[in-house]
């Protein structure tokens, strides 16, 4: 009884897996057939047009002046915040780097040992 139960579960999992891999092989819709670069460019151009509409008031819808003041430095702001994020990531990784002091010392000793061994055997270092 217990054995039959496991086999049925395995069979169902196999069928579900087959179905899912079939769906992945045949994507439908323009967005899933685009390359990642095209998707990225599409997204970026959407954001760029949204920014241009707000900053230069292209459609003539007068936004409140505070929102326009916030919108126009947005590209520079995103660049600066990305730079700050990268800097913080680098600093954090430097601070939490895993030094293995014992392993380093062991390695140096092994190198010394190997050099002496080779020197004894006649290799001129």
């Amino acid at each position: 009884m217990h054995h039959k139960f496991d086999v049925n579960i395995l069979r169902r999992a196999e069928v579900a897996f087959e179905r899912r891999s079939f769906i992945k092989k045949n994507p439908s819709g323009a967005f899933s057939t685009m390359t990642k670069l095209m998707q990225w460019l599409f997204g970026v151009s959407l954001l760029a047009t949204a920014w241009a509409v707000v900053t230069f008031d292209l459609f003539g819808l007068s936004f409140p002046p505070e929102y326009r003041e916030v919108a126009w430095p947005m590209p520079v702001y995103l660049l600066v915040s990305f730079g700050c994020f990268s800097l913080a990531t680098v600093g954090y990784r430097v601070a939490t780097f895993n030094d293995c002091d014992e392993a380093a010392r062991e390695l140096q000793d092994q190198i010394k040992e190997a050099k002496e061994d080779l020197r004894k055997k006649g290799l001129k270092l």
Binding site: G91, V94, D99
Partner: protein, 89 residues
């Protein structure tokens, strides 16, 4: 764990970038919603500098990174051009 000097340098970098980010965020996003006669405006430059300063800093950075490597690339190209005819003979 990383050595003491490494840890202080790393944490210093994290703190610096956090401070820079918060100052810049207040400058760009918070300040337009604050009244013009509020005392906060005294600590921030006029708004145009929030775009000019990163632009200038970026250009300076590119020049600093690019200039030594531009010089070596230029000399490499010149040397290569002088050596090529000899090799083809």
């Amino acid at each position: 764990m990383a050595s003491g000097a490494d840890r202080t340098a790393g944490m210093g970098l994290v703190l610096f970038s956090l401070l820079l980010f918060s100052y810049y965020t207040v400058w760009v996003i918070v300040l337009p919603f604050v009244d013009a006669d509020h005392v906060l405006h005294r600590y921030f430059l006029p708004r145009e500098f929030s775009v000019i300063l990163p632009g200038v800093a970026g250009v300076v950075l590119l020049l600093c990174i690019g200039l030594p490597s531009n010089q070596t690339a230029f000399t490499a190209v010149v040397l290569l051009k002088n050596h090529k005819p000899k090799k083809m003979d």
